[in-house]
């Protein structure tokens, strides 16, 4: 008998609990009108950034292509004798229909060139439009790291900067000298 009453009470209680939901606000985000908040480090569309001087950051080291678990990054390194005699990618291609947005390329990048930004609206009608070329990837800003310039802090010589001339860098040691 007690059991029966408990069943009945539970049924009615259930109705009441569901009915109370009439007065709560839905959790739905009505997407095209309402946008969800995406944190700055959210892993979305991949961009290639520039350093504060407006030069490409990418030095075409292939580390991102190696790190990529799905092999969606393709690039070709080249060296431009006219500009700074530095390496840069001749082409840089990301197949976003393959990309899994894992962010390994960003982790692997030694120059903060490749970055994932909070944007997921990449729908296309044709699959081939999912393949982004360098001009699609390259943005004019610095992305998440504003002051960083690889060639200014790294001991690599390019035409306008020799070894030892980078920031916080001592002149190169003459290994053949006996003096300390």
């Amino acid at each position: 008998m007690m059991k029966t009453w408990r069943y009945i009470r539970d049924l009615v209680l259930g109705l009441w609990i569901v009915f109370k939901r009439t007065f709560t606000k839905p959790v739905t985000v009505q997407y095209p009108e309402e946008r969800p908040y995406l944190p700055p480090r959210w892993r979305g569309r991949i961009v290639l950034t520039r350093d504060p001087d407006g030069e490409e950051r990418c030095v075409a080291c292939y580390l991102c292509a190696v790190a990529c678990p799905v092999d969606c990054i393709a690039l070709q390194a080249t060296e431009d004798p006219t500009a700074h005699e530095r390496r840069y990618p001749e082409f840089f291609r990301i197949n976003f229909s393959r990309c899994i947005y894992c962010g390994y390329c960003e982790d692997a990048c030694p120059t903060y060139a490749i970055q994932l930004v909070p944007d997921f609206e990449q729908s296309e009608y044709a699959r081939r439009n999912m393949v982004y070329e360098k001009e699609d990837l390259l943005i004019s800003g610095t992305g998440k790291y504003h002051g960083y310039n690889f060639y200014r802090v790294a001991g690599v010589n390019i035409r306008d900067k020799d070894k030892g001339q980078a920031e916080h860098e001592l002149p190169p040691v003459d290994v053949r000298s006996l003096m300390p």
């Binding site: 049924l11 259930g14 109705l15 609990i17 569901v18 009915f19 939901r21 009439t22 709560t24 606000k25 839905p26 959790v27 739905t28 009505q30």
Partner: protein
């Protein structure tokens, strides 16, 4: 004698009103289920999604009208019509306000019970004509369910009939002027509500359709507007069930201040929403549970209720 133009007008108003309401209820139910599950439900078509049913209807009409090659064609086509026709026929005896009724039969309740029993045929032959296992299992369950609820559905109504001393629905409403029958006939109300839920194939007694296990039960093979007819038929029986509960146990159109039609509409809406709330809350029972509950619990209770009511009525009569 009978004012034909008035009757024709009533038929048109009730037919139009009820069918529009049924279409609207599809949207209302989806919206309410959404709200109770902390989402919005369909809110895109028209203001607040109001025209969702219209869009659904357009879609259903443009679907291919497909009849499975293994089906019994004539019966297969006939079945959806039976659902809607029987449901609409029952509305002929539903008194919405004094004099606002298509046919004020003096055997109104029996007519209603007969029509709901006929509606069960549509489920049974629909499942049979589809000739597929899911539909067949669905109608098998419908038959088992029918055997248990039809009996106590009639019995639980009889208490109200005894108290009113009439089978006429308008007179039953008038007999509740001082006290709604839900008070003396609470058991009858519960029994009728339960039977009505089983009759309309609503949760927790929606075993014949059981989306989760039988795909869609007896109408699994139906597509396009034939499926739409089953769908509308279901909502028609929801309206019918709520209207009958209101008439038999909650004083129909009776109520202070507001006009009778408004009272009837309000009370009916409350029960329609309650049925949706039950859909949102309670799980589906097994059909052997419904059978044993129907035969072992509700049926004896309905009989005792009838016996006691009869005794009281006789004692009062002197």
């Amino acid at each position: 004698m009978i004012d034909w133009s008035r009757t024709a007008l009533t038929i048109v108003v009730i037919l139009g009103g009820v069918l529009t309401l049924a279409a609207l209820l599809v949207w209302v139910e989806r919206r309410l289920l959404g709200i109770w599950q902390e989402r919005y439900g369909p809110n895109r078509v028209g203001p607040g999604g109001l025209l969702q049913s219209l869009a659904d209807m357009l879609k259903l009409f443009t679907k291919e009208d497909w009849i499975p090659p293994f089906a019994d064609k004539a019966v297969f086509v006939l079945t959806p019509a039976i659902v809607v026709i029987t449901a609409l026929m029952s509305f002929a005896v539903v008194p919405i306000a004094p004099g606002f009724v298509v046919a004020d039969l003096n055997m109104g309740i029996l007519f209603f019970l007969a029509m709901t029993s006929l509606a069960a045929y549509s489920v049974i032959i629909g499942g049979w004509a589809s000739n597929s296992k899911f539909a067949f299992l669905g109608s098998l369950r419908a038959i088992a369910q029918l055997l248990s609820y039809e009996v106590f559905m009639g019995l639980s109504v009889m208490g109200a009939v005894l108290l009113a001393g009439s089978f006429n629905l308008s007179e039953i409403v008038e007999a509740q002027r001082h006290l709604w029958f839900v008070v003396p006939q609470f058991l009858g109300f519960l029994g009728f509500f339960m039977a009505g839920l089983a009759e309309a194939h609503r949760t927790p007694f929606d075993m014949p359709e059981a989306e989760a296990e039988l795909v869609a039960g007896y109408h699994a093979e139906y597509s396009g507007m034939k499926f739409g007819m089953f769908f509308v038929g279901e909502y028609l029986s929801v309206i019918l069930l709520s209207a009958m509960i209101v008439i038999l146990f909650f004083g129909g159109w009776l109520g202070p201040w507001l006009p009778p039609v408004v009272w009837f509409f309000l009370k009916t809406s409350v029960f329609i929403v309650l049925i949706f709330l039950i859909r949102a809350t309670w799980p589906r029972v097994r059909f052997d549970q419904l059978l044993s509950f129907g035969w072992k619990v509700v049926m004896p209770l309905a009989l005792i209720n009838l016996l006691v009511t009869g005794g009281v009525v006789l004692w009062k009569a002197g």
